[in-house]
Assembly symmetry: C2
Homo-oligomer: 650 residues x 2
């Protein structure tokens, strides 16, 4: 007998699978044996770290697969394992029933069953032993064959045999697998990134955290639930970069928020121009009042003026000439940035201090962090740090901002990052979008990697947004919001359609907020704010859009049209999205729906209700027509309405 697989299992159980509180976790086992014996497979689960195991029989799903599920209600770690057993009694009972049904003489077979019960009685103690022995005597006794066959089929007899199984017939899975349970926002979140210093309503006056608070109704009104701020700390002056990343800053240039640390403090301080810790506390409270939370940017690096450089020179690497090693990516140099030396002999104190930065901001009400470039710090550091934080604060969300090679991005997610940036911004063609999101939305990747899709960031103004016009912005927003249960935009640059790069071939914005204070006219004509609000309302109203699982692509005879659906369990809620990937031209084509994935019958008439335009279309069967004009709306977000018995569509 072989208990070959228990799923989900991430890297042989080295890392936890990820789920969210309130979810029913479905576990699958693969078990089989030589011969034709039936198996009894059981799932055992509990909260990690002790306590009693709860045992659930696993149901055969066909093809030697067995399934069971349990509800996770609390945050933190659970664990599970399984065992499988030759079910000699039910195997015998099933054979007996078939023979009896075929009218065969089963008197000798009844004696075989009686022997099984006697052996079990010998293993069992007390009352069960007596019961089993009694049944054995009846099976092998003088009663009529029909009566004895009926006894053999009784559930209570089989259950008593389950309890008295022969330990030699049992195999254990051999590994206990971990499961990390996060809060629901780990799965479904909608992020809005903005620079506080550009949040002032008054041109000429830099913005503050209080201005951010005043901006909350606008951001919440668009349907976002996470307000993410680039670093809010004091900014260094040495080697400060000027506007448009100029090597020398002018006297009044504010510098990059990622050159962290100055005379006013480091990672635990608020830039005086933005306000105070009290102002930050006010922003956190106001955000909560709008149903939002504040996410901070954690960039573990220092400007040359950071207090750490003076107080802890042992945390930085020295060059042979005695200077501190600045960041570099040869031949590029970043002399305004000093990386920490994670391998320094003083690493323990350094790691503890870095952990204390998280706990400091957690103490100020932050439960979500966007971590800058985690792939340039040691894997072991993140695994340790995230475990330390989550032990006391399992509600903390870590978003990994790593745009590096796939295996490294996946490993960071395995090490504990709750969500991860993706390659979404650079996936433009239908086939590459389909292949990438099929990979992300299915096991094994979907068990540990939660994508967070960004059509733009302060560092990423894609070629398509530069050249595609309003249609490209709308299409990319719909793709992000419907392909990803979590997505975000960098605003107001996004909703205002900023599209000019610093130079040809660059993905940097011209006059980027990274290096200067900007002022935004949120009321500018052409703002996509209302459109974004509609899209986010569709996300809130449709549970299918709140998970990455359940994504299915549907072929279309026009490759510029991309069609896909998401469905909740049992297809209770189904959303079909169709996007015109060509930002310039109207595109039309026939979609071939996978009706089974949509829970629809081949001949069923259903209604697709476009929640972006409120238009409704009657559809039927797999082939349906789609036509999308980027000058109007380049996408449909269709909720499937099925016909109710009274003939309406709901």
């Amino acid at each position: 007998m072989v208990l070959a697989r228990l799923l989900p299992e991430v890297e042989g159980g080295r890392f936890p699978a990820k789920r969210e509180a309130g979810e029913t976790v479905e576990i699958e086992a693969h078990a089989f044996t030589d011969g034709h014996d039936l198996l009894a497979v059981r799932l055992h689960h509990r909260r990690a770290g002790g306590g009693s195991w709860q045992t659930t029989p696993m149901d055969p799903l066909g093809n030697d697969r067995y399934g069971a599920a349990f509800l996770v209600e609390r945050l933190g770690e659970y664990e599970y394992t399984a065992d499988a057993r030759l079910d000699r009694y039910r195997t015998w009972a099933a054979g007996l029933a078939k023979k009896a049904d075929a009218g065969q003489d089963v008197r000798v077979d009844l004696l075989v069953g009686a022997a099984l019960l006697e052996e079990a009685a010998a293993r069992a103690g007390g009352r069960p032993a007596a019961l089993l022995a009694g049944w054995a005597a009846q099976l092998g006794g003088e009663a009529g064959v029909e009566e004895r066959v009926a006894l053999a089929a009784r559930a209570d007899v089989a259950e008593a045999m389950d309890a008295a199984f022969d330990p030699a017939d049992l195999v254990e899975y051999g590994r206990v697998l971990p499961l990390a349970v996060d809060r629901p926002r780990a799965r479904f979140s909608t992020w809005y990134e903005m620079f506080p210093r550009s949040a002032s309503p008054a041109p000429g006056r830099p913005g503050t955290l209080r201005d951010c608070a005043a901006r909350l109704p606008y951001v919440a009104g668009m349907g976002f639930d996470v307000l993410y701020l680039p670093p809010i700390h004091p900014i260094g002056r040495t080697h400060r970069k000027g506007r448009n990343n100029a090597v020398r800053a002018a006297a009044d240039d504010p510098g990059s928020p990622w050159a962290i640390g100055g005379a006013e403090g480091g990672h635990k301080a608020v830039h005086p121009a933005l306000g105070t810790l009290d102002d930050f506390a006010y922003l956190v409270r106001e955000a909560a009042a709008h149903g939002m939370e504040v996410a901070l940017d954690v960039a573990f690096q220092c400007s040359p003026d950071h207090p750490y450089v003076r107080d802890h020179p042992e945390w930085f690497r020295r060059r042979p000439d005695g200077s501190v090693q600045y960041a570099e990516n040869p031949p590029k140099k970043y002399e305004d940035i000093y990386p920490f030396d994670f391998e320094s002999p003083a690493w323990r104190a350094l790691w503890d201090e870095l952990l204390s930065i998280f706990t400091f901001w957690i103490g100020h009400g932050v439960r979500a962090f966007r971590v800058d470039n985690p792939h340039t710090k040691p894997f072991a550091f993140w695994e340790w740090l995230i475990a330390e934080v989550r032990r006391d604060h399992p509600d903390v969300i870590f978003l990994s901002e790593a745009f590096t090679r796939p295996k490294v991005m996946y490993r960071l997610a395995q090490l504990g990052f709750t969500q991860s940036y993706t390659y979404f911004a650079w996936r433009n063609h239908g086939r590459e979008i389909r292949e990438y999101f099929e990979e992300l939305s299915r096991p094994p990747v979907s068990d540990f990697f939660r994508p967070n899709l960004w059509p733009n960031t302060p560092d990423i103004l894609t070629e398509q947004l530069q050249t595609g016009g309003r249609g490209a912005f709308m299409a990319r927003l719909v793709l992000a919001a419907t392909l990803g249960a979590s997505y975000g935009i960098y605003g107001p640059a996004f909703e205002l359609g900023l599209h000019r790069p610093r130079s040809a071939g660059s993905e940097e914005y011209v006059d980027s907020e990274k290096y200067e204070v900007r002022h935004w006219d949120l009321e500018a004509p052409g703002s996509l704010a209302a459109f974004i609000a509609r899209v986010n309302r569709a996300r809130r109203q449709n549970p299918a859009l709140q998970a990455d699982r359940g994504l299915v692509f549907h072929p279309c005879d026009n490759e510029r049209l991309l069609c896909y659906s998401k469905a909740t369990a049992g297809a209770a809620n189904v959303v079909i999205t169709a996007v015109n990937l060509d930002p310039r031209r109207r595109q039309a084509g026939w979609v071939a729906l996978d009706l089974e994935a949509l829970g629809l019958e081949a001949d069923e008439t259903f209604q697709v209700h476009d929640v972006l335009t409120d238009a409704r279309y009657p559809w039927r069967g797999p082939r349906n027509y789609v036509e999308l004009d980027p000058e109007v709306v380049p996408a449909h977000v269709f909720v499937v309405r099925r016909q109710t018995p009274d003939g309406l569509f709901a």
Copy 2:
């Protein structure tokens, strides 16, 4: 640093991957690290069980994959593992080169490199230490910068640094993975099954092993290289089955060869009507003279008259009434067959005796066995038995005749079976053929499971062969012979087109050879022998058809046409097969070739040479027309001929 994967790896290294002698085994590692350091990854391999490791540097393949290969020349087990190391020196040297190329001042960088060399010198001993120290002094010395930069780029310096690496920078894979090397026929074989007792040229006289020998020119002439015989042992009389599986045999009914054992002997005896052990030896020699070998059927079961039943009653299970337990699959009973009790207290002696059956026939020149219903015997038994046999006879081929659930069939292959029967006979539609053979021809399955495809067997006359006529036989033969590097037919039933079932809905042949002696007219008009010979000649002449790897399906706009190709490494030999799956009607359509898989340029004119008809067609680009008529030949087997510089196609 993470060395995450080493491929092939079967079930975490629990079972060996399979390859064949003479093959270059390609190993792939997945390794990555945080940060931007270069890695040095090494493969270590050796013959299993000791000896020195051979070490090969693994080349970066992109996307954190590294590859290396080694040639396996001997049969038996090899093993391999890997390690990965931060290559601090090459990382530094690459950065230095970029900075120097950019015209930067690198004097401080040279001192960083000098320190690396000094640390290595301190780790190294003897002459390497002196060399490294000398280079360190030069790098940090007074020579010109250009000269010192050139020193840093020298291969001998990097190699000396390789040898003096810091053990703290190395991670080992942690597992040593097994590799089983079989003889080439394990991969590429062509089987012909026939009943010796029907091999007589004279109607009315049953055939013998000598008659089989006389049949060899015919079988070898069709291009087969394995002659597989159903059991050749004495047949029991108790509960003997009659013609067409009648419950009672007539006095002159010969019985089923799988009801093994009688007064004349058991599994180590030859049925007296077939001849003697000397006759068998003659057949083995004659087969070898025709480039063939003889495969025997091993069915571990006994007729009630088998000497084991009398001499070793402890090897059989008793029913409560004292009778021996016969085989059953409720409500079906097989009272002519006694299964062994592998869990008997006397199991050790039983297992040893069963092993001795293999060694007996190995002693009589047999190196290939078709094992009957292995899934009804314990997994542990097969793993033990095959390892025992292969220790002294690594050239033995075990063909698993299990038609059971996929996970069990795969597990038997993992336990050691060299080849396996498949579901091929029941895969008729294009999509199901494509999905099944994509699964079989790719890792992980292709690493341990070698399919052997049978369009028919004495137990399997498929509905398609019953109703499809000659076109169906030809199409199924071409599918088997080109989808599978190994395939077989049950003849002469196949080449003579036998298609009548015993009853409607049955896959049994009427008047099956399993229960009676038949006489065959091999010269009958309509025999497919010549066609089969052409197909098998194509297999011998084209290495692409001699492996299961390299299979690619090409879409066709007519779903009744199936098109696929196989190619050797570098597309040196490419065969495109197109089959009309409709045995009744001519079908035509346009194939969309995956030119990259075929090693062809988009605008290249090439020739497809049908080796079945010798017709040649000029093709160009991906879209090409195919038309196939089952009344003529329902398949093309095209060898791709590319244009040579002199304008010919070769």
